[in-house]
Amino acid sequence: MKVEKGLLYSNDHEWVKVEGEEAYIGISDYAQDHLGDIVYVELPDVDDELAKEDSFSAVESVKAAADVYIPVSGKVVAVNEALEDDPALLNADPYANWIIKVALTNKADLDELMTSEDYEKFLAEEA
Protein backbone atom coordinates (compact mmCIF):
# COMPACT_ATOMS: atom_id res chain seq x y z
CA MET A 1 0.00 0.00 0.00
CA LYS A 2 1.43 3.33 -1.04
CA VAL A 3 2.03 5.97 1.63
CA GLU A 4 3.07 9.33 0.21
CA LYS A 5 5.95 11.05 2.01
CA GLY A 6 5.54 14.54 3.35
CA LEU A 7 1.83 14.29 4.13
CA LEU A 8 0.12 14.01 7.51
CA TYR A 9 -2.29 11.15 8.20
CA SER A 10 -5.25 10.40 10.49
CA ASN A 11 -6.41 7.14 12.10
CA ASP A 12 -9.36 7.18 9.73
CA HIS A 13 -7.03 7.06 6.71
CA GLU A 14 -7.36 10.65 5.58
CA TRP A 15 -4.28 12.62 4.50
CA VAL A 16 -3.55 16.33 4.95
CA LYS A 17 -1.16 18.35 2.83
CA VAL A 18 -0.38 21.69 4.45
CA GLU A 19 0.40 24.75 2.33
CA GLY A 20 0.83 27.75 4.57
CA GLU A 21 -2.50 28.58 6.21
CA GLU A 22 -4.38 26.19 3.94
CA ALA A 23 -4.48 22.44 3.52
CA TYR A 24 -5.62 19.85 0.98
CA ILE A 25 -7.46 16.79 2.32
CA GLY A 26 -7.99 13.41 0.72
CA ILE A 27 -8.13 9.69 1.47
CA SER A 28 -5.17 7.31 1.55
CA ASP A 29 -4.34 4.51 -0.83
CA TYR A 30 -5.33 2.08 1.93
CA ALA A 31 -8.78 3.67 2.17
CA GLN A 32 -9.47 3.60 -1.57
CA ASP A 33 -8.28 0.00 -1.84
CA HIS A 34 -10.56 -0.99 1.01
CA LEU A 35 -13.62 0.56 -0.64
CA GLY A 36 -13.09 -0.93 -4.09
CA ASP A 37 -14.46 0.69 -7.24
CA ILE A 38 -15.57 4.13 -6.16
CA VAL A 39 -18.75 5.23 -7.90
CA TYR A 40 -19.60 8.48 -6.14
CA VAL A 41 -18.01 11.17 -4.01
CA GLU A 42 -20.28 13.54 -2.11
CA LEU A 43 -18.71 16.99 -1.73
CA PRO A 44 -19.44 19.74 0.82
CA ASP A 45 -20.23 23.34 -0.14
CA VAL A 46 -17.53 25.96 -0.36
CA ASP A 47 -17.61 28.17 2.76
CA ASP A 48 -18.84 25.32 5.00
CA GLU A 49 -17.23 25.68 8.41
CA LEU A 50 -16.00 22.32 9.62
CA ALA A 51 -14.85 21.34 13.09
CA LYS A 52 -12.27 18.62 13.53
CA GLU A 53 -13.90 15.14 13.20
CA ASP A 54 -16.92 16.47 11.28
CA SER A 55 -18.01 14.32 8.39
CA PHE A 56 -17.46 16.38 5.22
CA SER A 57 -17.81 13.87 2.43
CA ALA A 58 -19.07 10.38 1.70
CA VAL A 59 -17.31 8.04 -0.66
CA GLU A 60 -19.42 5.28 -2.15
CA SER A 61 -18.55 2.07 -3.92
CA VAL A 62 -21.08 -0.52 -5.08
CA LYS A 63 -21.00 -2.50 -1.83
CA ALA A 64 -19.82 0.08 0.69
CA ALA A 65 -20.05 3.66 1.78
CA ALA A 66 -17.64 5.54 3.99
CA ASP A 67 -17.99 8.92 5.60
CA VAL A 68 -14.85 11.00 5.41
CA TYR A 69 -14.01 12.92 8.59
CA ILE A 70 -11.98 16.08 8.60
CA PRO A 71 -8.91 15.58 10.79
CA VAL A 72 -8.36 19.34 11.25
CA SER A 73 -10.77 22.23 11.75
CA GLY A 74 -11.18 24.51 8.78
CA LYS A 75 -13.36 26.42 6.36
CA VAL A 76 -13.84 24.92 2.90
CA VAL A 77 -12.24 27.12 0.23
CA ALA A 78 -12.40 24.69 -2.68
CA VAL A 79 -13.81 21.28 -3.59
CA ASN A 80 -12.41 18.99 -6.26
CA GLU A 81 -15.26 19.06 -8.76
CA ALA A 82 -13.45 16.65 -11.08
CA LEU A 83 -14.48 13.90 -8.65
CA GLU A 84 -18.13 14.54 -9.41
CA ASP A 85 -17.64 13.53 -13.02
CA ASP A 86 -15.06 10.85 -12.43
CA PRO A 87 -15.08 9.45 -8.89
CA ALA A 88 -12.73 6.66 -9.97
CA LEU A 89 -9.90 9.23 -9.87
CA LEU A 90 -9.69 8.39 -6.18
CA ASN A 91 -8.91 4.79 -7.11
CA ALA A 92 -6.44 5.80 -9.78
CA ASP A 93 -4.36 8.14 -7.62
CA PRO A 94 -5.70 9.01 -4.18
CA TYR A 95 -2.82 11.36 -3.41
CA ALA A 96 -2.98 13.45 -6.58
CA ASN A 97 -6.74 13.79 -6.22
CA TRP A 98 -7.61 15.78 -3.15
CA ILE A 99 -11.24 16.07 -2.05
CA ILE A 100 -11.35 19.51 -0.41
CA LYS A 101 -9.09 22.41 0.33
CA VAL A 102 -9.61 24.23 3.64
CA ALA A 103 -8.39 27.37 5.36
CA LEU A 104 -7.08 26.04 8.66
CA THR A 105 -8.83 27.48 11.71
CA ASN A 106 -6.84 25.64 14.37
CA LYS A 107 -3.32 24.76 13.31
CA ALA A 108 -2.74 22.98 16.61
CA ASP A 109 -4.88 20.13 15.23
CA LEU A 110 -2.00 19.27 12.94
CA ASP A 111 0.14 18.22 15.89
CA GLU A 112 -2.10 15.25 16.57
CA LEU A 113 -1.69 13.73 13.10
CA MET A 114 0.77 11.04 12.06
CA THR A 115 3.77 11.49 9.80
CA SER A 116 4.03 9.18 6.81
CA GLU A 117 6.47 7.00 8.78
CA ASP A 118 4.08 6.74 11.73
CA TYR A 119 1.21 5.97 9.38
CA GLU A 120 3.17 3.15 7.76
CA LYS A 121 3.70 1.66 11.20
CA PHE A 122 0.01 2.18 11.98
CA LEU A 123 -0.98 0.30 8.83
CA ALA A 124 1.41 -2.53 9.67
CA GLU A 125 -0.22 -2.85 13.10
CA GLU A 126 -3.73 -2.72 11.63
CA ALA A 127 -2.83 -5.62 9.35
Binding site: Y40, S61, V62, A64, A65, D67
Partner: protein
Amino acid sequence: MYPYIPNTPQDEKEMLQAIGLDSVDQLFDDIPKDVHLTKPLNIPESKSELEVTNYLSSLANKNCSVSEMTNFLGAGAYDHYIPSVINAITSRSEFYTSYTPYQPEISQGTLQYIFEYQTLIANLTGMDLANASLYDGGTAITEAALMACAHSKKDEIIVSTGVKPEARQILKTYAHQQHLKVVEVETKDGVTDAQALEALVSDNTAAVIVQNPNFFGVLEDLKGLGEIAHKGKKTSFVASVNPISLAILKKPGELDVDIVVGDGQPLGIPLQFGGPYLGFMATKKDYMRKLPGRIIGETTDLDGKRSFVLTLAAREQHIRREKATSNICSNQGLNALAATVYMVTMGKEGLKEVATQCAKKAHYAFNELTKSGKYKPLFDKPFFMEFALTSETSVEKVNNALLDAKIIGGYDLGKDYPQYKNASLYAITEKRTKEEIDKLCEVLEGVK
Protein backbone atom coordinates in the same frame (compact mmCIF):
# COMPACT_ATOMS: atom_id res chain seq x y z
CA MET B 1 -50.91 -34.22 7.27
CA TYR B 2 -51.25 -30.62 6.20
CA PRO B 3 -51.59 -29.49 2.57
CA TYR B 4 -48.67 -27.05 2.81
CA ILE B 5 -46.31 -29.43 4.62
CA PRO B 6 -45.14 -32.29 2.41
CA ASN B 7 -42.97 -34.39 4.77
CA THR B 8 -44.59 -37.75 5.64
CA PRO B 9 -44.01 -39.48 8.97
CA GLN B 10 -41.64 -41.79 7.08
CA ASP B 11 -39.69 -38.78 5.73
CA GLU B 12 -39.48 -37.38 9.24
CA LYS B 13 -38.10 -40.64 10.55
CA GLU B 14 -35.43 -40.86 7.87
CA MET B 15 -34.37 -37.25 8.33
CA LEU B 16 -34.17 -37.58 12.10
CA GLN B 17 -32.07 -40.68 11.63
CA ALA B 18 -29.67 -38.79 9.38
CA ILE B 19 -29.31 -36.14 12.08
CA GLY B 20 -28.91 -38.75 14.79
CA LEU B 21 -32.02 -37.92 16.77
CA ASP B 22 -35.04 -39.93 17.84
CA SER B 23 -37.75 -37.32 17.91
CA VAL B 24 -38.60 -33.90 16.61
CA ASP B 25 -38.92 -32.69 20.19
CA GLN B 26 -35.17 -33.13 20.63
CA LEU B 27 -34.66 -30.40 18.05
CA PHE B 28 -36.14 -28.03 20.64
CA ASP B 29 -34.13 -29.22 23.63
CA ASP B 30 -32.07 -26.04 23.39
CA ILE B 31 -35.06 -24.01 24.56
CA PRO B 32 -34.81 -23.85 28.37
CA LYS B 33 -37.66 -25.51 30.28
CA ASP B 34 -38.89 -22.33 31.92
CA VAL B 35 -39.81 -20.74 28.59
CA HIS B 36 -40.68 -23.89 26.64
CA LEU B 37 -44.43 -23.95 25.97
CA THR B 38 -46.07 -27.04 27.36
CA LYS B 39 -49.61 -26.45 26.19
CA PRO B 40 -50.94 -25.67 22.71
CA LEU B 41 -51.34 -22.07 21.61
CA ASN B 42 -54.79 -20.74 22.43
CA ILE B 43 -55.84 -20.61 18.79
CA PRO B 44 -58.50 -22.83 17.20
CA GLU B 45 -57.27 -26.03 15.57
CA SER B 46 -56.61 -26.35 11.85
CA LYS B 47 -59.50 -26.22 9.41
CA SER B 48 -60.23 -27.29 5.86
CA GLU B 49 -60.18 -24.82 2.99
CA LEU B 50 -63.96 -25.10 2.68
CA GLU B 51 -64.54 -24.28 6.34
CA VAL B 52 -62.20 -21.30 6.18
CA THR B 53 -63.70 -19.88 2.99
CA ASN B 54 -67.21 -20.31 4.37
CA TYR B 55 -66.30 -18.40 7.49
CA LEU B 56 -64.44 -15.64 5.69
CA SER B 57 -67.21 -15.23 3.08
CA SER B 58 -69.60 -14.69 5.95
CA LEU B 59 -67.34 -11.94 7.27
CA ALA B 60 -66.98 -10.38 3.80
CA ASN B 61 -70.77 -10.37 3.55
CA LYS B 62 -71.00 -8.31 6.72
CA ASN B 63 -69.28 -5.47 4.85
CA CYS B 64 -71.10 -3.19 2.40
CA SER B 65 -68.83 -2.87 -0.60
CA VAL B 66 -68.65 0.03 -3.03
CA SER B 67 -69.97 -2.28 -5.74
CA GLU B 68 -73.20 -2.92 -3.81
CA MET B 69 -73.56 0.76 -2.99
CA THR B 70 -72.91 3.97 -4.92
CA ASN B 71 -69.76 5.54 -3.59
CA PHE B 72 -69.01 9.27 -3.33
CA LEU B 73 -66.32 8.91 -0.67
CA GLY B 74 -62.69 9.78 -1.48
CA ALA B 75 -60.45 11.80 0.85
CA GLY B 76 -57.29 10.00 -0.20
CA ALA B 77 -58.62 6.64 -1.46
CA TYR B 78 -60.53 6.61 -4.73
CA ASP B 79 -63.02 4.34 -6.41
CA HIS B 80 -61.66 4.25 -9.98
CA TYR B 81 -62.25 1.58 -12.60
CA ILE B 82 -59.66 -1.22 -12.57
CA PRO B 83 -59.21 -2.94 -15.95
CA SER B 84 -59.15 -6.77 -15.96
CA VAL B 85 -55.62 -6.96 -17.37
CA ILE B 86 -54.19 -5.86 -14.04
CA ASN B 87 -55.36 -8.87 -12.10
CA ALA B 88 -54.33 -11.14 -14.98
CA ILE B 89 -50.76 -9.90 -14.64
CA THR B 90 -50.44 -9.47 -10.87
CA SER B 91 -51.86 -12.99 -10.40
CA ARG B 92 -48.87 -14.50 -12.18
CA SER B 93 -47.04 -16.33 -9.44
CA GLU B 94 -43.64 -15.67 -11.05
CA PHE B 95 -44.29 -12.09 -9.94
CA TYR B 96 -46.12 -12.42 -6.66
CA THR B 97 -44.19 -15.34 -5.17
CA SER B 98 -40.74 -13.90 -5.81
CA TYR B 99 -38.59 -12.01 -3.34
CA THR B 100 -36.76 -8.69 -3.66
CA PRO B 101 -34.66 -9.05 -6.84
CA TYR B 102 -31.31 -9.76 -5.19
CA GLN B 103 -30.23 -12.21 -7.91
CA PRO B 104 -30.58 -10.19 -11.10
CA GLU B 105 -30.04 -13.23 -13.35
CA ILE B 106 -33.39 -14.72 -12.33
CA SER B 107 -35.25 -11.51 -11.50
CA GLN B 108 -35.16 -9.54 -14.74
CA GLY B 109 -38.96 -9.61 -14.84
CA THR B 110 -39.31 -7.75 -11.55
CA LEU B 111 -36.33 -5.49 -12.22
CA GLN B 112 -37.60 -4.46 -15.65
CA TYR B 113 -41.16 -3.69 -14.60
CA ILE B 114 -39.86 -1.53 -11.76
CA PHE B 115 -37.60 0.28 -14.25
CA GLU B 116 -40.69 0.85 -16.40
CA TYR B 117 -42.59 2.00 -13.31
CA GLN B 118 -39.84 4.50 -12.45
CA THR B 119 -39.96 5.80 -16.01
CA LEU B 120 -43.75 6.18 -15.99
CA ILE B 121 -43.78 7.98 -12.62
CA ALA B 122 -40.95 10.29 -13.71
CA ASN B 123 -42.81 11.08 -16.95
CA LEU B 124 -46.16 11.53 -15.21
CA THR B 125 -44.73 13.98 -12.66
CA GLY B 126 -42.31 15.59 -15.10
CA MET B 127 -39.42 14.94 -12.72
CA ASP B 128 -35.88 13.67 -13.38
CA LEU B 129 -36.22 10.36 -11.57
CA ALA B 130 -38.37 8.20 -9.32
CA ASN B 131 -37.68 5.47 -6.79
CA ALA B 132 -39.15 1.95 -6.80
CA SER B 133 -42.00 3.05 -4.44
CA LEU B 134 -42.70 3.51 -0.73
CA TYR B 135 -45.40 2.21 1.66
CA ASP B 136 -48.12 4.76 0.92
CA GLY B 137 -48.81 8.43 0.22
CA GLY B 138 -48.76 9.43 3.89
CA THR B 139 -45.45 7.86 4.83
CA ALA B 140 -44.01 9.12 1.52
CA ILE B 141 -44.61 12.67 2.74
CA THR B 142 -42.66 11.90 5.90
CA GLU B 143 -39.84 10.30 3.91
CA ALA B 144 -39.72 13.40 1.71
CA ALA B 145 -39.47 15.61 4.79
CA LEU B 146 -36.68 13.50 6.29
CA MET B 147 -34.81 13.54 2.99
CA ALA B 148 -35.18 17.33 2.77
CA CYS B 149 -33.75 17.64 6.28
CA ALA B 150 -30.78 15.42 5.36
CA HIS B 151 -30.30 17.32 2.10
CA SER B 152 -30.27 20.77 3.74
CA LYS B 153 -28.91 19.74 7.16
CA LYS B 154 -31.80 21.70 8.68
CA ASP B 155 -34.61 20.64 10.99
CA GLU B 156 -37.71 22.72 10.39
CA ILE B 157 -40.58 21.46 8.26
CA ILE B 158 -43.49 23.64 7.20
CA VAL B 159 -46.62 21.77 6.21
CA SER B 160 -49.90 23.18 4.94
CA THR B 161 -53.11 22.20 6.76
CA GLY B 162 -54.39 21.50 3.26
CA VAL B 163 -52.34 18.30 3.45
CA LYS B 164 -54.31 15.18 4.41
CA PRO B 165 -54.73 15.15 8.22
CA GLU B 166 -53.51 11.57 8.69
CA ALA B 167 -50.37 12.34 6.73
CA ARG B 168 -49.65 15.29 8.99
CA GLN B 169 -50.11 13.06 12.03
CA ILE B 170 -47.58 10.57 10.65
CA LEU B 171 -45.15 13.41 9.99
CA LYS B 172 -45.50 14.65 13.57
CA THR B 173 -45.01 11.15 15.00
CA TYR B 174 -41.74 10.72 13.11
CA ALA B 175 -40.53 14.29 13.59
CA HIS B 176 -40.90 13.92 17.36
CA GLN B 177 -38.34 11.09 17.35
CA GLN B 178 -35.59 13.18 15.79
CA HIS B 179 -36.59 16.46 17.43
CA LEU B 180 -37.50 17.97 14.08
CA LYS B 181 -39.79 20.95 14.22
CA VAL B 182 -43.09 20.77 12.33
CA VAL B 183 -44.87 24.08 11.72
CA GLU B 184 -48.34 24.14 10.18
CA VAL B 185 -49.31 26.88 7.80
CA GLU B 186 -53.07 27.49 7.72
CA THR B 187 -55.30 27.54 4.69
CA LYS B 188 -57.38 30.55 3.78
CA ASP B 189 -60.51 30.20 1.62
CA GLY B 190 -59.54 26.62 0.90
CA VAL B 191 -55.96 27.17 -0.23
CA THR B 192 -52.62 27.47 1.55
CA ASP B 193 -52.27 30.99 2.90
CA ALA B 194 -49.39 32.37 0.83
CA GLN B 195 -48.85 35.40 3.06
CA ALA B 196 -48.69 33.26 6.17
CA LEU B 197 -46.26 30.95 4.43
CA GLU B 198 -44.05 33.84 3.41
CA ALA B 199 -43.84 34.91 7.04
CA LEU B 200 -42.80 31.41 8.13
CA VAL B 201 -40.18 30.49 5.53
CA SER B 202 -36.65 31.22 6.68
CA ASP B 203 -33.15 29.90 6.21
CA ASN B 204 -34.01 27.28 8.86
CA THR B 205 -36.71 25.78 6.65
CA ALA B 206 -35.77 22.36 5.32
CA ALA B 207 -39.04 21.72 3.52
CA VAL B 208 -42.37 23.29 2.60
CA ILE B 209 -45.01 20.61 2.03
CA VAL B 210 -48.30 21.15 0.22
CA GLN B 211 -50.87 18.88 -1.39
CA ASN B 212 -52.44 19.34 -4.82
CA PRO B 213 -55.35 19.08 -5.23
CA ASN B 214 -55.39 19.67 -1.49
CA PHE B 215 -57.47 17.74 1.03
CA PHE B 216 -60.50 19.92 0.22
CA GLY B 217 -60.15 19.02 -3.45
CA VAL B 218 -59.08 22.58 -4.29
CA LEU B 219 -56.22 23.36 -6.68
CA GLU B 220 -53.23 25.09 -5.09
CA ASP B 221 -51.03 27.68 -6.78
CA LEU B 222 -47.97 25.43 -6.84
CA LYS B 223 -45.90 27.92 -8.79
CA GLY B 224 -46.51 30.77 -6.36
CA LEU B 225 -46.05 28.61 -3.25
CA GLY B 226 -42.85 27.15 -4.70
CA GLU B 227 -41.42 30.61 -5.26
CA ILE B 228 -42.05 31.44 -1.61
CA ALA B 229 -40.57 28.14 -0.44
CA HIS B 230 -37.43 28.70 -2.48
CA LYS B 231 -36.74 31.94 -0.66
CA GLY B 232 -35.30 29.69 2.05
CA LYS B 233 -31.71 28.57 1.58
CA LYS B 234 -31.66 24.97 0.26
CA THR B 235 -35.33 24.62 1.13
CA SER B 236 -37.08 21.74 -0.66
CA PHE B 237 -40.54 22.38 -2.06
CA VAL B 238 -42.52 19.15 -1.64
CA ALA B 239 -45.86 18.48 -3.34
CA SER B 240 -48.10 15.51 -2.64
CA VAL B 241 -50.23 14.98 -5.73
CA ASN B 242 -53.05 12.85 -7.09
CA PRO B 243 -51.49 10.86 -9.97
CA ILE B 244 -54.68 10.83 -12.07
CA SER B 245 -54.85 14.63 -11.98
CA LEU B 246 -51.42 14.88 -13.61
CA ALA B 247 -52.84 13.74 -16.92
CA ILE B 248 -54.48 17.16 -17.29
CA LEU B 249 -52.93 19.48 -14.71
CA LYS B 250 -49.56 21.20 -15.08
CA LYS B 251 -46.86 18.80 -13.98
CA PRO B 252 -44.91 19.45 -10.79
CA GLY B 253 -41.79 19.28 -12.97
CA GLU B 254 -43.06 22.33 -14.89
CA LEU B 255 -43.60 24.20 -11.62
CA ASP B 256 -40.19 23.88 -9.98
CA VAL B 257 -41.28 21.34 -7.35
CA ASP B 258 -38.23 19.57 -5.87
CA ILE B 259 -39.81 16.42 -4.44
CA VAL B 260 -43.10 14.96 -5.65
CA VAL B 261 -44.87 12.28 -3.63
CA GLY B 262 -48.33 10.80 -3.62
CA ASP B 263 -50.43 7.71 -3.27
CA GLY B 264 -50.62 5.49 -6.34
CA GLN B 265 -53.83 3.77 -5.20
CA PRO B 266 -55.90 5.44 -7.95
CA LEU B 267 -53.65 3.67 -10.49
CA GLY B 268 -55.40 0.30 -10.49
CA ILE B 269 -55.18 -0.69 -6.82
CA PRO B 270 -58.37 -1.83 -5.06
CA LEU B 271 -59.66 0.10 -2.03
CA GLN B 272 -59.36 -2.98 0.26
CA PHE B 273 -60.13 -1.07 3.45
CA GLY B 274 -57.08 1.17 3.26
CA GLY B 275 -54.19 -0.91 2.05
CA PRO B 276 -51.85 -2.04 0.81
CA TYR B 277 -51.53 0.98 -1.48
CA LEU B 278 -48.47 2.53 -3.08
CA GLY B 279 -46.36 5.54 -2.15
CA PHE B 280 -44.53 7.13 -5.04
CA MET B 281 -41.65 9.57 -4.95
CA ALA B 282 -40.04 11.50 -7.80
CA THR B 283 -37.39 14.18 -7.50
CA LYS B 284 -34.96 16.46 -9.23
CA LYS B 285 -31.59 14.92 -9.96
CA ASP B 286 -29.87 16.58 -6.96
CA TYR B 287 -31.65 14.21 -4.59
CA MET B 288 -30.62 11.01 -6.36
CA ARG B 289 -28.09 9.85 -3.77
CA LYS B 290 -30.34 10.63 -0.83
CA LEU B 291 -33.58 8.97 -2.01
CA PRO B 292 -35.09 6.43 0.39
CA GLY B 293 -36.04 2.95 -0.75
CA ARG B 294 -35.04 0.76 -3.65
CA ILE B 295 -33.92 2.07 -7.03
CA ILE B 296 -33.45 0.08 -10.22
CA GLY B 297 -30.89 1.00 -12.84
CA GLU B 298 -30.07 -0.13 -16.36
CA THR B 299 -26.71 -1.73 -17.08
CA THR B 300 -25.17 -4.45 -19.23
CA ASP B 301 -24.18 -8.01 -18.37
CA LEU B 302 -21.01 -10.00 -19.13
CA ASP B 303 -22.19 -10.50 -22.70
CA GLY B 304 -23.11 -6.86 -23.19
CA LYS B 305 -26.86 -7.49 -22.95
CA ARG B 306 -29.15 -4.80 -21.57
CA SER B 307 -30.11 -5.78 -18.04
CA PHE B 308 -31.41 -4.23 -14.85
CA VAL B 309 -30.10 -4.27 -11.28
CA LEU B 310 -30.81 -2.82 -7.86
CA THR B 311 -28.56 0.21 -7.75
CA LEU B 312 -27.28 3.11 -5.63
CA ALA B 313 -27.27 0.62 -2.75
CA ALA B 314 -24.78 2.76 -0.83
CA ARG B 315 -27.76 4.88 0.31
CA GLU B 316 -29.40 1.95 2.03
CA GLN B 317 -29.56 0.55 5.53
CA HIS B 318 -27.74 -2.72 4.86
CA ILE B 319 -24.63 -0.71 3.96
CA ARG B 320 -25.03 2.56 5.85
CA ARG B 321 -26.54 0.89 8.93
CA GLU B 322 -26.90 3.62 11.59
CA LYS B 323 -25.92 6.34 9.07
CA ALA B 324 -28.80 5.59 6.70
CA THR B 325 -31.42 8.35 6.42
CA SER B 326 -34.22 5.80 6.04
CA ASN B 327 -34.64 2.23 7.28
CA ILE B 328 -36.84 1.20 4.37
CA CYS B 329 -35.64 -2.02 2.76
CA SER B 330 -38.57 -2.97 0.60
CA ASN B 331 -40.89 -1.45 -1.93
CA GLN B 332 -44.54 -2.12 -2.75
CA GLY B 333 -43.40 -4.46 -5.56
CA LEU B 334 -46.68 -6.04 -6.55
CA ASN B 335 -48.63 -2.79 -6.27
CA ALA B 336 -45.98 -1.04 -8.36
CA LEU B 337 -46.66 -3.76 -10.94
CA ALA B 338 -50.40 -3.06 -10.75
CA ALA B 339 -49.75 0.67 -11.23
CA THR B 340 -47.37 -0.02 -14.13
CA VAL B 341 -49.90 -2.19 -15.93
CA TYR B 342 -52.60 0.41 -15.25
CA MET B 343 -50.51 3.26 -16.61
CA VAL B 344 -49.53 1.45 -19.81
CA THR B 345 -53.04 0.08 -20.30
CA MET B 346 -54.59 3.52 -20.02
CA GLY B 347 -51.64 4.89 -21.95
CA LYS B 348 -51.15 8.33 -23.38
CA GLU B 349 -54.84 8.98 -24.18
CA GLY B 350 -56.61 6.81 -21.61
CA LEU B 351 -55.28 8.44 -18.48
CA LYS B 352 -56.18 11.82 -19.92
CA GLU B 353 -59.69 10.56 -20.61
CA VAL B 354 -60.06 9.23 -17.05
CA ALA B 355 -58.92 12.55 -15.61
CA THR B 356 -61.13 14.54 -17.96
CA GLN B 357 -64.20 12.44 -17.19
CA CYS B 358 -63.57 12.77 -13.45
CA ALA B 359 -63.31 16.55 -13.78
CA LYS B 360 -66.39 16.91 -16.01
CA LYS B 361 -68.59 14.63 -13.91
CA ALA B 362 -67.42 16.28 -10.69
CA HIS B 363 -68.28 19.72 -12.07
CA TYR B 364 -71.66 18.46 -13.24
CA ALA B 365 -72.32 17.07 -9.76
CA PHE B 366 -71.15 20.29 -8.15
CA ASN B 367 -73.56 22.33 -10.26
CA GLU B 368 -76.50 20.02 -9.65
CA LEU B 369 -75.93 19.70 -5.92
CA THR B 370 -75.59 23.43 -5.34
CA LYS B 371 -78.52 24.42 -7.58
CA SER B 372 -81.27 24.64 -4.98
CA GLY B 373 -79.11 26.47 -2.42
CA LYS B 374 -79.71 23.85 0.27
CA TYR B 375 -76.07 22.77 -0.07
CA LYS B 376 -73.53 25.51 -0.48
CA PRO B 377 -69.97 25.26 -1.74
CA LEU B 378 -67.56 25.48 1.20
CA PHE B 379 -65.05 27.24 -1.06
CA ASP B 380 -65.40 29.14 -4.28
CA LYS B 381 -62.20 27.83 -5.83
CA PRO B 382 -61.15 25.73 -8.84
CA PHE B 383 -61.16 21.98 -8.09
CA PHE B 384 -60.39 18.74 -9.91
CA MET B 385 -62.72 15.86 -8.90
CA GLU B 386 -63.49 16.49 -5.23
CA PHE B 387 -65.37 19.35 -3.60
CA ALA B 388 -66.83 20.24 -0.20
CA LEU B 389 -70.43 21.26 0.45
CA THR B 390 -71.94 22.56 3.62
CA SER B 391 -75.52 22.67 4.86
CA GLU B 392 -77.63 23.21 7.97
CA THR B 393 -77.67 19.48 8.67
CA SER B 394 -74.91 17.42 10.29
CA VAL B 395 -72.87 15.23 7.95
CA GLU B 396 -73.76 12.20 10.05
CA LYS B 397 -77.46 12.79 9.49
CA VAL B 398 -76.97 13.41 5.78
CA ASN B 399 -74.85 10.30 5.38
CA ASN B 400 -77.36 8.11 7.26
CA ALA B 401 -80.06 9.26 4.89
CA LEU B 402 -77.80 8.46 1.94
CA LEU B 403 -76.98 5.06 3.39
CA ASP B 404 -80.68 4.21 3.46
CA ALA B 405 -80.67 4.88 -0.27
CA LYS B 406 -77.58 2.65 -0.72
CA ILE B 407 -75.29 5.63 -1.26
CA ILE B 408 -71.98 6.12 0.52
CA GLY B 409 -71.81 9.84 1.29
CA GLY B 410 -68.88 12.21 1.58
CA TYR B 411 -66.13 12.63 4.15
CA ASP B 412 -67.03 14.64 7.26
CA LEU B 413 -64.51 17.51 7.23
CA GLY B 414 -65.60 18.63 10.69
CA LYS B 415 -63.76 15.65 12.19
CA ASP B 416 -60.40 17.19 11.36
CA TYR B 417 -61.33 20.83 10.84
CA PRO B 418 -63.76 21.95 13.61
CA GLN B 419 -64.28 25.24 11.76
CA TYR B 420 -65.89 23.32 8.88
CA LYS B 421 -68.75 21.75 10.81
CA ASN B 422 -71.46 20.24 8.58
CA ALA B 423 -69.09 20.22 5.59
CA SER B 424 -68.88 17.08 3.49
CA LEU B 425 -66.25 16.24 0.89
CA TYR B 426 -67.58 14.46 -2.21
CA ALA B 427 -65.40 12.61 -4.71
CA ILE B 428 -66.64 11.86 -8.22
CA THR B 429 -64.68 9.39 -10.32
CA GLU B 430 -65.20 8.28 -13.90
CA LYS B 431 -67.19 5.32 -12.51
CA ARG B 432 -70.11 7.49 -11.42
CA THR B 433 -72.93 7.86 -13.95
CA LYS B 434 -75.21 10.81 -14.51
CA GLU B 435 -78.03 8.70 -13.15
CA GLU B 436 -76.14 8.03 -9.91
CA ILE B 437 -75.25 11.69 -9.51
CA ASP B 438 -78.86 12.71 -10.10
CA LYS B 439 -79.97 10.15 -7.50
CA LEU B 440 -77.48 11.59 -5.00
CA CYS B 441 -78.93 15.00 -5.69
CA GLU B 442 -82.48 13.79 -5.23
CA VAL B 443 -81.76 12.05 -1.90
CA LEU B 444 -79.80 15.04 -0.60
CA GLU B 445 -82.65 17.39 -1.45
CA GLY B 446 -84.96 15.15 0.53
CA VAL B 447 -82.89 15.15 3.74
CA LYS B 448 -84.92 16.74 6.50
